[in-house]
């Protein structure tokens, strides 16, 4: 677990993209404020028939799957012992941290009585039959684990910060708080010494935390599937099965690897760094096998339950089912070819197809395949969309700022401040 694998991205923070994202974030947060003042009905189209809208379906059920990059990479690096992928792990952990942190935030926006959430910590209120209870505790624990996993980046930065930038920081703080700069400098020095003391000690136990960070998603990602087990009379038989937990678990693994590819390609492109084609090709080789297992479970289960005929009726539900299968199938098919796996363009396209298909599966289970009965309809309102978009914008914003402040991205060996790479090309 070398910390030398990572480096800070040296670039300006206040870019035009920064302000665009900031605007979307502010709109989203304004609507969140409105929701707390006037009730959920004031901003959303949710109803008693569709009590879970896109906030749960996207931000929680799908957002955490998209945030499974850290989980998927940790399995690869620490369990399958592919240390060559280690440089990719920190950015994966950071996006996971944001994904999960904001999923937690979305839950607090979505639930009606968040002030009662302390009941999760009162054993007499625990309700172990509830998949929701399991998901809630696991997600809270996992967010903490991700924070600890990310701590080394922060500590390294604190240790390595040069005295000049510290003095500048002290002066800036002095202007805003009025505390003498000397006192601030000594305090920052303490923090630095503390970081230097803590980091090697953290390194010793970090592996146990990392493994916890593999165990917890295994538990709650499957439980996200279990959440809909109870809706046996409402969820369409194409999706309602006792294998929901297993399907959700496998689903988050292939989404996790695919999102790592997407993130790497996008950040290489955006930050003008060379593409990590070799590592990405390695990741891409894993994905189609995982999706093949998933597709086998889906179709094997449909056959076993005698529901295959539901596809042939070609109605609304069958359409969405086929779309989900087509997206995942096409993406996987592309990745079976070794030549495609070496092309940045095909890597990007196939990973995008699989992420969208995998996310559509979760939408199908939580919303599209969910029918509470006659007379109920749901399509999210504009304000509801804007809250979700605001939260996503906030996530990207924080990622963009933090990779410029902390050593997160893989170190470029001997190529620091390399000139911009050529645009994505297929080779």
């Amino acid at each position: 677990m070398s910390h030398d694998d990572f480096q800070r991205h040296e670039a300006s923070i206040l870019t035009p993209a920064f302000f665009a994202l900031l605007l979307l974030t502010l709109i989203g947060f304004f609507l969140v404020a409105l929701r707390f003042i006037k009730g959920i009905g004031a901003v959303s189209n949710m109803s008693d028939g569709y009590p879970w809208g896109i906030w749960i379906t996207y931000d929680v059920a799908t957002g955490t799957a998209i945030a499974c990059g850290g989980y998927a990479m940790a399995i690869l690096v620490y369990i399958r012992n592919q240390m060559s992928y280690h440089p990719m792990i920190r950015s994966a952990v950071l996006t996971s941290l944001f994904g999960y942190g904001l999923a937690g935030f979305s839950v607090m926006v979505d639930v009606g009585r968040p002030w009662n959430a302390y009941n999760f910590f009162i054993p007499s209120k625990w309700q172990v039959n509830s998949a929701m209870f399991e998901v809630a505790l696991c997600v809270m624990a996992y967010t903490t684990v991700l924070l600890i996993e990310f701590l080394p980046a922060l500590l390294t930065r604190l240790e390595e910060a040069d005295s000049k930038s510290l003095r500048r920081l002290a002066e800036r703080l002095h202007r805003s708080t009025g505390v003498a700069p000397e006192r601030l400098t000594t305090r920052i020095e303490w923090a630095r010494a503390g970081a230097a003391w803590l980091r090697p000690r953290l390194d010793k136990v970090l592996i146990f935390i990392i493994v916890l960070g593999i165990t917890l998603p295994t538990m709650h990602q499957s439980s996200l599937g279990s959440l809909l087990l109870i809706a046996s009379t409402k969820l369409h038989p194409l999706w309602h099965t006792g294998f929901l937990p297993l399907l959700f678990l496998i689903n988050c693994v292939y989404i996790g690897y695919s999102i790592c590819i997407l993130e790497s390609v996008l950040s290489s492109y955006a930050f003008k760094r060379p593409f990590e084609t070799k590592e990405l090709a390695g990741l891409a080789a894993i994905i189609p096998w995982v999706t093949v297992i998933w597709l086998s479970v889906v179709f094997g289960d449909l056959l076993w339950r005698g529901q295959l005929g539901k596809i042939l009726v070609l109605d609304f539900y069958a359409g969405f089912f086929l779309l989900e299968i087509a997206l995942i199938g096409t993406g996987s098919f592309i990745l079976f070819s070794a030549a495609n796996r070496r092309s940045v363009r095909w890597l990007f396209v196939s990973a995008a197809l699989i992420v969208i298909g995998g996310a559509l599966y979760r939408f199908n289970v939580y919303l599209i395949g969910f029918n509470p009965g006659k007379g109920w309809r749901y399509f999210p309102s504009l304000a509801e969309f804007m809250v979700t978009i605001g939260i996503i914008a906030f996530e990207i914003l924080c990622y963009k700022v933090l990779v410029k402040l902390l050593p997160v991205l893989p170190r470029l060996h001997g190529r620091d401040h390399a000139p911009a790479p050529p645009l994505p090309q297929s080779n």
């Binding site: 009606g112 999760f120 046996s232």
Partner: protein, 315 residues
């Protein structure tokens, strides 16, 4: 058997001695478990749609009695700018019980009452993460506690009858559903407000077992009047709110449901995965072992300053 008779007593005695002779197996099944398990004390209501006159006195009584405790409000209608009527269109965050009229033709119509079914194996109780929904093991009343509820609305997703409602327009929203007046009328007068108010005898309050035999008696007496089915006797494992009607129940908005409770299915899977928390602990142990073994193979060198990259770094 309406009243205990001498003959009945003797038959029972004979049956008892036979089962004793059979090694007590049958006896153990018959009298096994306590009163709660057998559901002897379970309270409920029998709604007879053929008797209902649609006066909505039950709705008025429910809101009057439970308005304060349950934070219910009167609902305005578009046709009524002066606010003279309480005119809910459906169960809602302000309305726990509702009478609807289903009219197929001038000759074929029926009233129907909606309110919590008080399932014997309620999905809402099974899914509530913080035990805000509870089922009294003795009376079978499914109750809601706003002081623990986090407002996640999983109970709404889970309920096959779409009974729990949410106060969408409130900053401090609650789940709203019938609690059999357990904090109000039942506690004070021993009867639910709707059953007390009903002038037509369409709502009967009592013990589930008694209501069931009453329903069977009515079906036997007037077989031509009713659909030969007691809705709630077996649906989702049985409910304490029972229905008799002259029209198909699915036409009255009461869905056709299997006899196995959905909560049994989901809990079985959840319990298989998490039995005794063995599987998660085993998973963690195995993964730790694997990760430690891997680290020994390619040891970390985080503390060695000045080293650049890893041995097996390929980029």
């Amino acid at each position: 058997m309406a009243r205990p008779t001498r003959r009945g007593f003797l038959v029972g005695l004979a049956a008892g001695s036979v089962s004793l002779a059979c090694g007590g197996v049958a006896a153990a099944i018959e009298s096994g478990g306590d009163a709660a398990e057998r559901g002897e004390g379970e309270l409920g209501m029998l709604y007879d749609a053929t008797r209902c006159v649609g006066c909505k006195a039950c709705m008025a009584a429910c809101k009057r009695v439970n308005g304060d405790y349950g934070s219910l409000a009167y609902e305005r209608a578009a046709f009524d700018p002066d606010g003279l009527w309480d005119a809910p269109q459906d169960l809602s965050g302000s309305t726990r019980t509702l009478i609807k009229l289903f009219k197929q033709s001038d000759r074929e119509w029926s009233y129907v009452k909606y309110s919590c079914m008080h399932c014997r194996k309620p999905s809402c109780v099974s899914v509530c993460p913080v035990s805000a929904m509870t089922r009294d093991p003795l009376t079978g009343v499914v109750d809601y506690n706003k002081n623990t509820c986090i407002g996640c609305r999983y109970c709404q997703v889970a309920c096959a009858f779409n009974i729990p409602r949410f106060q969408w327009e409130s900053a401090t929203p609650q789940i709203v559903k019938c609690d059999l007046c357990v904090h109000t009328n039942l506690a004070k007068k021993g009867v639910t407000a709707c059953a007390e108010a009903c002038p037509a005898g369409a709502i009967r309050f009592g013990k589930r077992s008694e209501l069931l035999s009453e329903a069977r008696r009515r079906l036997d007496e007037k077989p031509g009047l009713y659909i030969n089915h007691i809705y709630g006797e077996h649906e989702v494992g049985g409910t304490n709110h029972l229905y008799l009607a002259a029209m198909q129940f699915s036409q009255l908005g009461l869905p056709q449901l299997p006899a196995t409770p959905p909560a049994e299915f989901s809990e079985k899977i959840q319990h298989t995965i998490y039995k005794g928390f063995v599987a998660p602990v085993a998973l963690y142990g195995t993964l730790c072992w694997l990760a430690l073994r891997n680290l020994k193979k390619s040891p970390p060198h985080a503390d060695r300053i000045g080293e650049d990259g890893e041995i097996n770094h390929e980029s």
